[in-house]
Each structure stands twice: as C-alpha cells, then as structure tokens.
C-alpha cells in the first residue's frame, strides 16, 4: 500500500504523473478507467483528512469522467475511417507539457543551487544626489513598476476610521412646506424645476417621500401628458 502525502502534489497534473510513474504506465496509452478510480480514491482521502480539495482537483475529476464516458460510448465510425480522435489526446498533451516544465523547474533549481556557492558583495548602493547615478537607477523602471508601487501605496494607506459628517437639517415636514412654496401661480410645479432646486442626495430622497405624502393626502396630483414627457405636479387645493 502506497502512502500518499498530498501536500507533495503541486496539482492534479502532478498527481496523475505520479500514478503514471509509479505504475509504469505508457503515457500515450493511459488506462483511463483505472486511473480515474485511483484519482477519485485520492480525492476521498483528501476529504477525509479534512484537506479542502481545491477546485482544480475537482475540475480534473470531471475531465477524467468525461474521457471515460467518451471511451465507453460506441463511436460513430462510418465505414472503416480510423480518424476518430482518441478522447485522451488533449489530456496526454497537457501531461507532457506539464512534465516538460516540471523537469525545467528542477533544472532551474539546480542552477540556483550552483549559484548558491558564490557569495557576491552585499553592498547596496545609495544614490548620492549624483544625477548620472540616479539616471542609472531610473532606467530599469517601467510604467508598470510605477503602477505597481502606486497600487501598493494605495493598499497601505491608513484605514480611515473617522468620518466627518455634515448634519442635514432635512425632514419630511419641512420639505413638504418647501415644495409647496415652489408651486407657481397656476398651482403647477414641473418635475424638472423641482429637481433643479435639489442638491444633495438626501434632499432628493426626502423630496420624493414628500411628493408621495402629498399625493396620498390628495393635495397634489401627478400628470404626464405623453410618454417620456415632462411630469407635472398639480396643486388640487388645501385639504380641509
């Protein structure tokens, strides 16, 4: 029985490559049924160990199932045409490319190990107010570097915990009185001229409530003569 240490896998492709290596499977002829089973058992183990199974692993499970289903389904082979694509091809290609970079990563790691034998000087230069030097320093900075630092600066900005609020002296009663005073001699107030007098968001909201209140009390009536036309408020006369 092989013990699998899940944290050693970099992802679903890595896990599949592990099965392939361990069981000496021909990468071009993967027994999908067997490997899917193995894969699902491993996912179950992960769940039992309370490891949150990453979406990537579940995504691969779905891919494996899909391939398995395609293989099981009778292919629609008309005549003797052999050009039906193997449903495993895309996965095999992905595994090969991933393995290629896994090896490349090892090679890079070796290079880093070799470089680790050498100790360069540790002095980091300060710019001495020397223009030529500072020119040198700035040369390697791209627009993206600037954008990156700007973003970091924004992220590091102190969180504002205190706000200064302006007290709005707006209430429904006074807004009703105000609106009433804006009606012209004919007892008409245009919606557009009402909006022009309102500045703050709160004022607009309260005015809306005030208009509703006036309509409900039967003091005003709302009219619109045509679709998308101007809305008019008509004064109906004082309530009793």
């Amino acid at each position: 029985m092989h013990k699998i240490y899940l944290e050693n896998f970099e992802g679903p492709l890595d896990l599949l490559l592990y099965f392939i290596r361990r069981d000496k499977i021909d990468i071009y002829d993967i027994p999908i049924s067997k490997i899917t089973k193995e894969y699902m058992i491993t996912l179950d183990k992960m769940k039992k160990l309370n490891v949150t199974v990453a979406g990537d692993f579940i995504d691969m499970a779905a891919t494996l199932m899909r391939i398995k289903a395609k293989i099981l389904l009778p292919s629609q082979r008309n005549g003797s045409e052999e050009s039906v694509e193997d449903p495993r091809t895309a996965l095999v290609q992905q595994l090969l490319v991933y393995q290629q970079f896994k090896i490349a990563a090892e090679q890079l790691s070796n290079l880093a190990q070799q470089q680790n034998h050498y100790f360069p000087r540790q002095i980091k230069l300060d710019i001495n107010g020397d223009d030529k030097r500072s020119e040198l320093q700035i040369q390697n900075i791209s627009l993206f570097d600037v954008a990156w630092h700007f973003k970091t600066a924004l992220e590091n900005m102190p969180v504002i915990t205190q706000y200064e609020l302006q007290k709005d002296n707006i209430n429904l009663e006074s807004q009703i009185t105000k609106i009433m005073s804006w009606f012209d001699g004919d007892g008409i107030l245009l919606f557009s001229s009402l909006m022009k007098r309102l500045i703050h968001k709160v004022e607009i909201i309260v005015s809306f409530l005030a208009v509703l209140e006036l309509i409900q009390q039967g003091i005003i009536q709302v009219l619109q003569n045509e679709i998308f036309g101007e809305i008019e408020f008509h004064y109906l006369g004082n309530k009793a």
């Binding site: 691969m60 090969l96 290079l111 880093a112 000087r121 540790q122 230069l125 990156w148």
Partner: protein, 178 residues
C-alpha cells in the same frame, strides 16, 4: 589615463557594489573613451589567479560581479546563512520555469500548463522581482503578460536568458516516463 589606473578604478567599482557592473555603466565613470570592460576583467582575473585569492570576477546577468570562490562556501556558511539569493518553493519554481521559457506569458496560459491557480505564486515572484509585467496581451481581456528580470538571471547564475537549459523534447520525455 594609464591602463594600470583604469584597471584599479574598475576593481574599485566591482568592490563597491553588489550589482553586476556593465560596459554601459562605465561611460558614467570614465568621461571619455571608457575602456573595454571584458579585457580589464580578464587582466584582473589573471592577477587574482597569480596572487592567490579567495575571490574572482564572474560574468552574470550581462555584467561582471566580484564573488567568492565556490570552495569557500562552507566557511562563509558558518558566518552567513544566505547569500541574498531567493529560495523558491516547487510551485514557484514551476511557475518561474514556465514564465522563463514562454515569456511573455499571461496568468491564464501559465495556469493552463500547471493545471492550478497561479495568482499567489505569480505575486510572490513579482514581489521578489524575479518576474515583471512586460505589457498586456492584445487578446480578449487584455491580460497582463509576465517576463523574467535581471534579478532572475542573477538568482539562477545566468549571463543572459539564452543561457537557460534547453527544454527537453516531448519525445525524450515519453521515454523517460516509461
């Protein structure tokens, strides 16, 4: 200026900085007619070899850097743990390799090769200045494209990006996996 003096000036520049010294930088030091750096480095290295020293000058990241010889590593390690190199996790190394060979490359392409989310790893590499944003793809969503930096070359002991080991051919891989 005497050749001997030029040699000593370049030696002092190498001594005073951690960053690799380039031919281009010499024009800021020598007002007119900067000397050929490669020639002077060879002379200096010959001098060090004759004199018997623990250090020499190495070509790295397109420039020259004074470093200790590899055989003194064990002694230096008794004093220092690190040499300023960034040590990478396997996930970071894989991502680093993909960016190095396929640059400029988007996060999406990197993820489709590795089969896992790469947001965090790319951010680590960016923070460590081993990769940088090279621009944006012209394709849908205009994703950011990543490429390697000078620090990447320094960290992996390369003189230029063309020195990275060749990717193994896919046919070789299938044999090795059997």
């Amino acid at each position: 200026m005497q050749q001997k003096e030029q040699q000593l000036i370049i030696e002092s520049l190498l001594f005073s900085t951690a960053d690799p010294l380039t031919q281009k930088q010499l024009k800021f030091v020598f007002n007119s007619d900067p000397p050929d750096i490669q020639k002077i480095i060879t002379e200096l290295n010959n001098k060090y070899a004759k004199g018997g020293h623990s250090f020499y000058i190495r070509k790295i990241a397109g420039g020259y850097q004074i470093t200790t010889k590899a055989e003194y590593e064990i002694w230096i390690h008794r004093l220092f743990k690190k040499n300023g190199q960034v040590m990478l996790s396997r996930a970071s190394l894989e991502t680093m390799a993909i960016v190095a060979y396929r640059q400029p490359i988007s996060r999406y392409e990197t993820e489709s090769i590795r089969g896992v989310d790469c947001t965090g790893v790319l951010k680590t590499l960016l923070t460590n200045k081993l990769i940088r944003i090279q621009g944006r793809d012209s394709g849908p969503g205009r994703p950011l494209l990543y490429g390697t930096t000078k620090k990447f070359l320094e960290n992996f002991g390369l003189n230029s990006i063309s020195e990275i080991p060749k990717l193994k051919e896919i046919s070789e891989l299938s044999n090795s996996s059997n």
